[in-house]
């Protein structure tokens, strides 16, 4: 791996690692939610600091160089993460729909109860 590329990779992975840690530290996310990102950040950091490991794995898999392996793997991983994130959003949307329906039906009952009690008190 060329030295310039290694330096960029180290800087990027350190920033990414720092960002994930910071998000947990500030309470914007919990470790259980950030686990996969932290894991990815560590892998990126190791890959950037010790490129020899990645190069050996790339050769074992018959891939020309570490950069191709990193690009290929990261794209795959990000696709899975993105699908996962989308599924979480869809689930949240479903839960919000159900909550809206429940709250609205309850609101209707409360309104009717109030009307009935007003009628009986008159």
């Amino acid at each position: 791996m060329p030295l310039q590329l290694q330096i960029i990779a180290i800087i990027l992975s350190v920033i990414f690692f720092g960002l994930t840690i910071q998000l947990v530290r500030k309470g914007r996310a919990e470790v259980r939610q950030m686990r996969k990102w932290l894991f990815l950040a560590v892998i990126m950091l190791i890959g950037a600091l010790v490129p020899g490991i990645g190069t050996r794995i790339a050769k074992m898999l018959g891939i020309v160089n570490l950069t191709s392996l990193a690009l290929f793997t990261l794209t795959g991983v990000l696709l899975i993460f993105s699908l996962n994130a989308h599924m979480s959003l869809i689930n949240a949307e479903k839960q919000i729909k159900l909550l809206t329906q429940e709250v609205s039906l309850l609101k209707k009952e409360v309104r009717e109860d109030k009307e009935n009690s007003r009628k009986t008190s008159l």
Partner: protein, 241 residues
């Protein structure tokens, strides 16, 4: 003899212009009908003064605390029907497109045990509907109808009709699962998978009396793609005997 409890689910979003008249017609029909018919307007988080009108005229309704779209609004009606123990639920548009006088055609086959679910149709021989929708829409309806026939072997001519009635089995099914967007065509596939018997019956429909349709060319293309894909994927649902 048991008298079936029937609920008319009337979704309405920003229909302040016409909802009071529609409900007045419905209420008059409910009173003269020998059946036990109630109605429930679902105010789908309207941003006009629909809620104020519903309250002012003491119209039986639920106000959704936020807009859920047609699927979520109709499903709220099915949830209500399920909880209140209704035997039949009928979807009825709040924009005045459906003729309340066609109601018996919809629930008669369910009461007689001929079907679990009925669709009010403009395209069957016993329909007296003069309004058939625009040519482009009819073409879209035909394509979806062919797709449903091709995937399920069941022919429904008016696949986008929102004038539909279902028994308790259907109420339970739709309370549990109902598509949020463009629900009608896809929901047939869910019903077929559950072995629910569907019958198309003639019904009169009118052009919408108030408001405007929000569908333009771009949306129509998106609609056809979304609905066709939903039908194809729903055809893979495991069939219950």
């Amino acid at each position: 003899m048991k008298k079936e409890k029937i609920l008319l689910i009337i979704p309405a979003y920003n229909e302040s212009e016409g909802i009071v008249d529609v409900v007045a017609q419905v209420a008059a029909y409910c009173q003269k009908s020998p059946y036990h018919i109630d109605y429930l307007v679902i105010n789908d988080g309207s941003t006009d003064n629909e809620e104020a009108l519903l309250l002012l005229h003491k119209i039986h309704h639920v106000e959704l605390v936020q807009n859920l779209g047609i699927g979520g609004a109709v499903q709220t009606g099915y949830l209500y029907a399920q909880r209140k123990g209704y035997d039949i639920a009928v979807q009825f548009d709040g924009d005045g497109q459906h003729d309340i006088e066609s109601l018996p055609q919809l629930f008669a086959p369910i009461i007689n045990g001929e079907a679990d679910f009925t669709v009010g149709s403009r395209f069957v021989s016993d329909s007296v509907s003069d309004f058939k929708s625009s040519g482009a829409r009819q073409l879209g309806i035909k394509i979806l109808s062919v797709l449903i026939k091709w995937t399920s072997r069941i022919k429904i001519k008016d696949v986008t009709s929102g004038y539909r009635a279902g028994n308790k089995k259907v109420i339970d099914q739709f309370a549990e699962r109902y598509p949020s967007k463009y629900p009608e065509p896809e929901s047939y596939m869910h019903l077929f998978a559950k072995g629910i018997r569907v019958k198309e019956v003639g019904a009169r429909m009118f052009e919408r009396k108030t408001g405007e349709s929000s569908i333009n060319f771009k949306k129509a293309v998106g609609y056809m793609i979304d609905v066709s894909l939903s039908i194809l994927i729903a055809s893979l649902l495991e069939k219950e005997k």
